[in-house]
Structures are given as C-alpha cells and as structure tokens.
Amino acid sequence: MAREMGVRELLARAAELPEGDERYDLVARAVRQADTHQDERTAFEARMQLSQAATFAGRQEEMLVAVTWLLSRYDARPGDYAGFKHDLFWQLKYLVDNVGDFPTIPLAQIRALYDQVESRFRDAGYSLRPYFSCRYYAAASLGDQAEAERYYRAWQNAKRDRLANCAACELDVKVAFRRNSGDHVRALDLAAPILEGRLRCATVPIRTCAGLLKSFVIAGRMPDAREWDRRNYRLFRSGRQHVDYAGDHIVFRGFSGDYAGALRIFERYARLALEFRPCWTSMQFYNAAARLFDLLARRRGAIKLKLPPRHPLCVPAGEYATAALYEWFESQAASIAAQFDARNGNDHVSTAWRRSAAWLDLEPAGG
C-alpha cells in the first residue's frame, strides 16, 4: 500500500471502481504521475479519464480544467490525438452541459464557448443533437422559454449519431421538458420506460425520479411518490454527484411529513454540499434545506442535528433553532440565486424557485 502505483495501474484500479470520489482520486493521482514522469500522450489519456471521472464525481470544475488541457494539446497536435476524437467530443458535451452552472462565469464567455463548441462539432461532421439538448437545458435554467423551445425542437430534429446521448438520457430530456412546462401527467407517462427499469444509465433513473417526485404529488399520486422516493433514494451513493438530487428527496420527505427521513438525507450530504463553490448544485441543496427547515420551523422551535464541523452554525451540543437554520440556508441559496440573476441579467433564478416550490403548500392527500 505504501508503494506508489504507476499510471497504468492507477487507471486500471480506478476503472474498476464505481463512479465517485474514490475513482476520481485515483485518476487524479495517475494524472500527477503522468505529468511528472511520463510523456504527453500518457498524460492525455489520463486526463481524458480525469474529465470523465470528475464529471461523474460531481467535480465539474475539474472537468473544465481537464478539457481545457486536452483541447490545447489536441488543437496543437491533431494528428497525434486523432484516435481520441470521439472521446474528446464526448467530454465537450459535458463541458457545454455544465459551464452554465457556475455563476461567476459571465454570459458572454459562456456564449463564446457555446459558439466554439458548435463550430467544432460542425467541422468534425458530428450531429448537433447532443449540443442542442445542452442548449435547451441552459436556456430553460436561464428562463428563456422561447430559446428553450427552439433548442428542444432542434434537438428532436437533429439526427442521432455515435455522439448522441443514450436513450435513457434522451428520454430524461423529454420528461424534463414536460415537467418544466407544467405537464406533470404527461411527464409521468413519458417516463414509463425509466420507471419500469427498462432504460437506465449512470444518471438515470436517479436524476429522472428525483425530479418526478413533485410530479407524482401534483398528479395526485402520493403513494407512488412515496414508493419512488424510497426506491430511488436506495440508489444514492454518499458522493458529490448526488447532492442536488438529494435535495429533491429532502424536499419531498419534508412535504410528506417524513421529517426524520428528510433530516437523515440532509445530514448525509450537508458536509459535501458545503464543499462546493457557489454553483447550481449547491444552490439546489441549500434551497432544499431551507424548504425543509421552513416546514420544520412551523412545527418545532429547535431540533437536534448533526451539522458538519466546518459549518458556521455548528455547536457541540448539536441542537439548533429551526428558524436559524432556515435563515442560514435560505440566505445562502438566495445569495447564489442573486449571483445567477446578476450573471443572467434577469430575476428568473430567484423567482423560479419560489414559483416551483408552490406545490409544497398543497396538502399531501391520498396517503
């Protein structure tokens, strides 16, 4: 164990692990090794793995760095890295998917990046289908309904090629579109193959089902919502990659009265959530926590809780005023939302959460 493994061995060990920080750390060590001792090509291979591992470990900023490095080598020596073209473009999909999640990156820079990726795709002869679905999501989170719909249609019309997202991910986009349009019943219908377990991938069904919990409630299918909360959450790992989906389950459990369950999830992911730089994921989690503590504050003045040691409010006694917890998480979430709004030039992010949380005022009827 004390002996340091070589690049190949580290990458091989990493490949055997499930996605998450353990895998990411091994690949990061491999990259360090490759940078120090090996040639650029080995470093290139290792960084390709790093980009992938980072994305699925919830470390999107590391993915941005890795892809930047990869592109600079690929652009400088395309002949040397021609064999990696497909894998590299796959990483570009992640790039477009995630760059908007960081509010400190100005819109102009993001658009410049989108344009560049679009040209790269066109020049390389790839279909823009996955690019369009990323743009759809980006426009939706910006609150630009018209652009969102335009890209959604463009996505549907573009042809599928080797770079297309898997069937599960594509269905997830459709389901999300319906959900975001407020058509929850249709969203649930569409999601049937995912709910029945016929379509799965690394992020589906976790991602889809977390988002549909609210749809089940609005569609009046509370027992199904509870069932899916239980089943979906079982698939979660204690990693950064599941922090935002954890938020959906926290809110649902709070709504359905399972406060103990909600708090359990909160305690599992709070430490991880705090380690994020301000971004979409951490905002989602803080929002979810705020909703939970808001619901709790109406019932209890104080609760016992395991806050992470590095949390500003953390005290050894472990008992906290629910109102104080609510205020802290609410202000954190609001502050990040404000950063997004400043970046986006509108108030969509701050108001959208408020609007979309309206369902929490419904009665959890039907069991």
């Binding site: 004390a2 360090r32 940078d35 941005l64 930047t68 490095w69 990046l113 560049q116 395991k306």
Partner: protein, 616 residues
C-alpha cells in the same frame, strides 16, 4: 419480418400469420444462448408436467428419461416424462398456439408454479430438429393418446392413437444433420447434468450404451456452516464449479425469494470487479452463472451459488424482474453475508484479521456504507500512517485524535512535520479511507477525527521569539515581496525536522487554482477566460510558505545583508518546497528554478575562483 398480414381480402377480423421459421430465428438469435437450450426447455416442460400431475392427485412418482437412439441421420432423442399429459384438445390449444401457455394462472393454478412457457419452450427444439413428434396420454382425462407432429415449416398434424400409451408425454426429435453435435451422448449427458442435476425428480439419461441418473444431491442443502465435513465437501464443489480457490463457505438464505445456497470466500485478494458474477438455480434448474444484481456491490470477494424458488427471471434469464421481492431478497442476502462477518469478528478475531488482510478493499467499501460493520471492523482495518502501515487500533492506541490527510500528496507534504512532532497522521488518500474515517466520528461517539491539510499543520508550528522576529523582520518583508507574485504569503516559524528549510502549505482550492493557472498557460483563449472566471479573485486562504527558523541555513540567510543572495535563495527554497510537496510547477516557477540554479552555479564557480586566487 416475422409477422405478415392475412391476404384474405374479405372485410372483417383477420388473424396475424406467423412465419414459424422467422420466429425460431428470432428466438435462437436473441433469446436463447444457443441450440443446447432445447434440453433445458424439455426438462422444464417435463418438470412442470410432473408437478401438475402430482398436484391433482397422488400416486405417481415423477421421473424423466432421455434416450439418444440411432446413428447418423437417424439420430433421435426421446424425452419421456410421466407427468400430466395432454388430451387432443390440449394438443391443439397448447402445442400449436404460439405463446399460449397451459400454465396461465386461472385460479387453481398458481402462476409461479409453472415456469417455462410451454408454447415457446417446445419451439426451441426446432433449432436442432426439423420435426417434433409428441405422443402424450393424459393422466386424468378419459381420452385416447394423441400424436402431434410439428414441422419447422409451420405445418402440423394431430391424431388420436389406437394403442395404449402410459400416462405422460414423449417427445421425439430427429436430429438435423447440422446439429448432430447436440445429440452426442456425452454432450447430452453433460448438458442435462448442467441444467438439471439438482432437480428434485430423477432424470435418467440413456445414451452411447450407458444408462444412469444424472441427479446429484444439492451440495448446500441443510448447510449451516457448523459441520466441518459438510463445509469441506461444499468447498470442493465450489472449487470445481468456479475453478478457483476458496478459503471458506458461508450459508446463505433469504425468505424473500425463497433462496438458499452458499457464498464462497475467495482465497486471493481481488480488486473491485464490476460486480462479481454468481451462479443461480431456479427451482433446481440451472438459470445462469452470470447473475450480478442479486448481491451488494461490496460482495466482490465472494462467489455465490444459490437456488431460488420464487424470484422471476427476465427473458434473458440473466437477471430478475425488479420488484419488491427482489429488493427484499437482495437485502436478506446482504444481511446474511454481513451477519457472517460480524459473527466471525466476534468469535474468531484471528481469522477475521486474516480475512481483512486479504480483502480489506471490499471490507472497507462495506464499512464506508454500513455503520454496524464499521463499528466492528474499523479497528482491524489497515491504514498507512506517518509511522508506517498499521491497523487502526494500533494507531488509536498512540493517538487520541485520528488525524488524516485527504490526499496522498498532502500526506507527503505534511507527514515529515507530523512525524517530527510525534504526531500520528493517517494517509487517507486511498480508496474509501476518508469515507471510513469520517463515518467513524459519527458512528462511534467519543471518537475525534480531524482532517488535516498542510495549512492546518502549519497552525501547529511554533512561533519564533520576539527577538528572533525583530532580527528577521527585513528578511521576511523581502520574502513577502518575492513570493507575492507567486500567489503565496510568507511566514516564519520554528518546527521540526530542522533539516526542512521550508514548508509549502496549500489547501484543495489553492491546488485547484494552481492547476487552473498552469492549464491557462497554453489554453485556448475562450476556455482560458472561462477558467479565469471560475476562480474567485478574493480568495480566503492563499498558499503560504513557512520558513523554518530552526533550520541553520534559514537563520544564516535571515542574517545576511546581501539582498540579492537572499532573494535568490528564497526563490529556490520556494521551488524546493513545491517540489518536495509534489506540486507541478507553473512556468514562472520553472523560470525561477532555472535562473536560480544558474545563479547558484555561477556563485559557486566565482567563489571557487576567488578561493583559488587567495590560496594559490
């Protein structure tokens, strides 16, 4: 295309016509793993028929017989069961209607009793034969025996027979010339054994001049782990089946799914596999040896063989329908394995230690998810520490607080200082280690676990005295000026080991910023800008270089009046600290190193020259 619309032009309801050959093609290419499954399907039907007969009335002992007769083109396999048999009407309904199963639940029959879908199952025989002949006598109905002949071209004939036939069913398969291999006596015997050796009905195979029962007692029947003789026998079976060495066998059972079997612990360490492949029997019939989703992820140091009476397999026969029963079964099996480990830990610590030394990675994975196991096994788990590798309990004996670094690199930076201070430190940069230590704090109240990075380490370094601070004041201001462009602050401390002139301390965010800057050096401008925006300008804890006043060189340096020498030396000490901490250098740091070394060489040469001039 398998389905054609009827060409009958009359209006009204038509029937889909099915091209039998196309359907068989579909089945053989997409559903069945190979022609050999015809034997499995025959066995299935036979077992089901016997069961149906025994349900309706006692007085028959089920038996299945396979015979291979004839040679060459005349090779024929005869499959006989003394089950419920078919009437004329049954033959029309079930043998000639695709997909119609005699076993659809209708109140009396319980669907889960009848595996196999009779309509499809028999079709598999068309993979090896162009004509299937079925002769059957119903065990209960007062009917004459029926003979059904089906051909691969989709035609069939049914008639009643005049002669008497014992109750049950016989299936005759004339081998297709291209499929003679699948009628080879040894092959048939070994395939039938493979599929059916654990079936509860006697199966007699008569082929190649030999006749015998292929059944075997179930090796894990009544296995509770206590009988040493039985365990040895089971281990031998496990070795034979998986062709690998095992060190132990554990009984497995689950009420959900009606499961029983055994788990074999691998005798050699394994790294994480993408979920190990296990062998599963369904009601005594071999189902698959590639079932992966029945056991938890951390159980990759075992290979399991189980029989399930109730789980429902998917069409591929390599996994199960995801329903509550499967979930419950998974949980029970995981609990069983876990319980065994817990029992072992309590009863036989020595063997547990052996197991952990061999399989610490899966056990660490388990402990990172399961508090009970964590509480039980944590003390035995091996970790790398500043005092060498040791089990956690040894570390805890010497260190009331469990301090660890989250990465191997941080450990390398910090360990020498920690060691010199007599402070124990764990290198949790290995898989699952950090997760385990963090959970330990929550799972074992009273355990103090502290994550330490180089910055935290630095907080424990000693301050210099007031006089020493005064004496080195100008030197430190120079240090700050030199290091500021590097995004690094400077501090003067005293620490052990005295040989270490400086310690570079940076946290994860700081390392990330260094990475970003390095990558920006060659980056495409669009991406470079994006990365730049990602790093917050106002950064709480930049990197720091702690100069060690306990180090004689640093003290001398601080006392020099020559600013140029001090500056160069500081630059080199900075780069040296980076290198010691395994931080990849940024371009300007390479330049510092380059210029600094050259300057040193120059000084050395000049100094030598002067010395020679003064001492010719």
């Amino acid at each position: 295309m398998v389905v054609r619309m009827s060409t009958d032009s009359t209006a009204g309801d038509h029937r889909f016509q099915v091209d039998l050959r196309g359907l068989i093609d579909l089945l053989s290419n997409h559903l069945y793993s190979g022609p050999q499954v015809y034997l499995r399907e025959l066995l299935q039907n036979g077992v089901d028929a016997i069961q149906a007969r025994q349900r309706q009335g006692p007085g028959s002992s089920g038996e299945i017989r396979l015979e291979v007769l004839g040679v060459g083109e005349k090779t024929t396999l005869v499959f006989t069961d003394n089950g419920i048999g078919l009437t004329l009407e049954d033959a029309h309904r079930f043998l000639a209607t695709i997909g119609q199963s005699s076993k659809r639940g209708d109140g009396v029959d319980r669907p889960e009793d009848f595996l196999g879908r009779f309509g499809i199952g028999l079709l598999s025989c068309f993979m090896v034969s162009d004509e299937i002949v079925v002769i059957s006598q119903s065990a209960f109905a007062e009917t004459r025996p029926v003979e059904w002949r089906g051909k691969a071209d989709g035609t069939y004939s049914v008639r009643e027979l005049d002669r008497a036939v014992p109750a049950g069913t016989q299936v005759f398969l004339r081998a297709k010339p291209s499929m003679l291999d699948f009628f080879d006596p040894d092959r048939v015997r070994s395939l039938v054994a493979h599929y059916g050796e654990f079936l509860p009905r006697p199966i007699v195979v008569s082929a190649g001049g030999q006749t015998g029962t292929i059944n075997r007692p179930v090796p894990w029947a009544d296995f509770d782990g206590r009988d040493a003789g039985q365990r040895e026998a089971l281990l031998a079976y496990g070795r034979e089946t998986f062709e690998t060495e095992f060190s132990d066998a554990i009984p497995l059972s689950s009420a959900a799914g009606g499961i029983d079997g055994a788990a074999f612990i691998l005798a050699r360490p394994t790294t994480v596999a993408a979920r190990a492949a296990h062998r599963v029997y369904l009601k005594g019939m071999f189902l698959s040896d590639n079932v992966r989703d029945l056991f938890p992820e951390w159980a990759f140091f075992v290979r399991c063989i189980v029989n399930t009476r109730e789980l429902r397999p998917t069409a591929s026969r390599e996994s199960f329908y995801e329903d509550r029963q499967l979930e419950a079964a998974r949980d029970s099996l995981a609990d069983g394995l876990r319980a065994h480990l817990v029992r072992l830990g309590r009863r036989d610590p020595e063997r547990m230690q052996e197991l952990i030394s061999l399989h610490y990675i899966p056990i660490k994975m388990l402990c990172s998810e399961d508090d009970e196991c964590l509480r039980l096994f944590a003390d035995w788990l091996p970790f790398e520490t500043s005092a060498g590798p040791m089990p956690l309990k040894e570390f805890r004996r010497e260190n009331p607080v469990i301090r660890y670094t989250a990465t191997v690199d941080q450990f390398r930076q910090v360990a020498p200082v920690a060691a010199a201070q007599g402070m124990g430190l764990i290198n949790a940069g290995y898989t699952f280690d950090q997760a385990i230590l963090e959970r330990l704090a929550e799972a074992l109240p009273g355990t103090v676990v502290e994550r330490v990075d180089s910055q935290d380490m630095a907080d424990r370094l000693d301050d210099v005295s007031l006089d020493e601070r005064e004496a080195s004041f100008r030197f430190m201001r120079l240090a700050e000026a030199v290091l500021q462009p590097m995004g690094c602050a400077a501090d003067l401390k005293r620490f052990l080991p005295a040989e270490l002139p400086a310690l570079y301390a940076v946290d994860r965010e700081g390392e990330f910023r260094r990475d970003v800057e390095r990558v920006q050096e060659d980056a495409d401008p669009v991406l470079g800008d994006v990365l730049g925006s990602l790093i917050e300008e106002d950064f709480a804890s930049p990197a720091r270089l702690y100069l060690n006043y306990s180090n004689p060189l640093v003290r001398r340096l601080a006392g020099l009046s020559d600013r140029e020498t001090q500056r160069r030396a500081l630059e080199i000490l900075y780069v040296q600290a980076l290198l010691l901490g395994h931080h990849p250098l940024r371009s300007r740091e390479f330049r510092l190193l380059n210029d600094g070394l050259l300057a040193c060489v120059q000084w050395a040469v000049e100094a030598r020259g002067r010395a020679r001039d003064e001492n010719p």
